[in-house]
């Protein structure tokens, strides 16, 4: 019997976010909807990395005055996942900004936001 913990639930939610984001990027026709699905996919990957480093009943990996050095490796959560995710959040938003700018250029040229019409290549 698998015990239901916050770590397991957030890992399942991360998998669902990745599936929803990938499906939205593949099957939705609106370009801005595709970008929103891309951010959801990025959120899912971030949540998976953070929930892998979680320790049940652990502490935040910050040493405070008076805290013990001996229990710190056993109690503190892993910091490698959050170290990557902190970079990924910032880079993800700048990637989204570039995608938004390209979408506005496409709208100015083709007069539509539908990916199927843009792929047909009919100028406005």
């Amino acid at each position: 019997m698998i015990e239901i913990t916050l770590q397991l639930l957030s890992f399942i939610a991360a998998g669902l976010l990745v599936v929803i984001g990938l499906g939205g990027m593949l099957f939705l026709d609106n370009l801005i909807k595709k970008i929103i699905a891309f951010t959801l996919l990025s959120d899912g990957v971030n949540l998976a990395l953070v929930s892998l480093g979680y320790v049940e009943g652990g502490i935040v990996p910050i040493l405070e005055p008076g805290s013990s050095y001996l229990n710190f490796p056993n109690e503190a959560t892993l910091i490698f996942g959050p170290g990557i995710v902190l970079t990924n959040i910032v880079i993800g938003v700048s990637t989204t900004a570039i995608l938004i700018a390209l979408t506005m250029v496409l709208y100015r040229r083709y007069g539509t936001l539908k990916a199927s019409k843009v792929l047909k290549g009919e100028r406005k």
Partner: protein, 84 residues
């Protein structure tokens, strides 16, 4: 014993999934941008519950203000409702 913080965390786990589906089902793109911001707040709370409060702070600022902001700018420069 029921811990209120953990109960709210479980609600937030359900909330990010429901919010992700609800954001992609909207026909109004402005409403989809706002729902994306709300889903990002739930994700920030969940980061805090998973003992990574630095990520929670970053996600709360970036996902709530910056990301819906640039999407709203794009919507006002293009069109608001999804065309048929």
């Amino acid at each position: 014993m029921i811990d209120a913080f953990m109960v709210i965390s479980y609600i937030m786990v359900v909330g990010i999934t429901v919010g992700a589906v609800a954001a992609l089902l909207q026909k109004d793109l402005l409403r989809a941008a706002f729902i994306t911001g709300a889903e990002s707040v739930a994700l920030a709370f969940l980061f805090h519950a998973l003992l990574a409060p630095d990520l929670g702070l970053t996600q709360a600022i970036v996902g709530t203000v910056l990301l819906p902001g640039i999407i709203i700018i794009a919507i006002f420069k293009t069109r608001r409702h999804e065309e048929e």
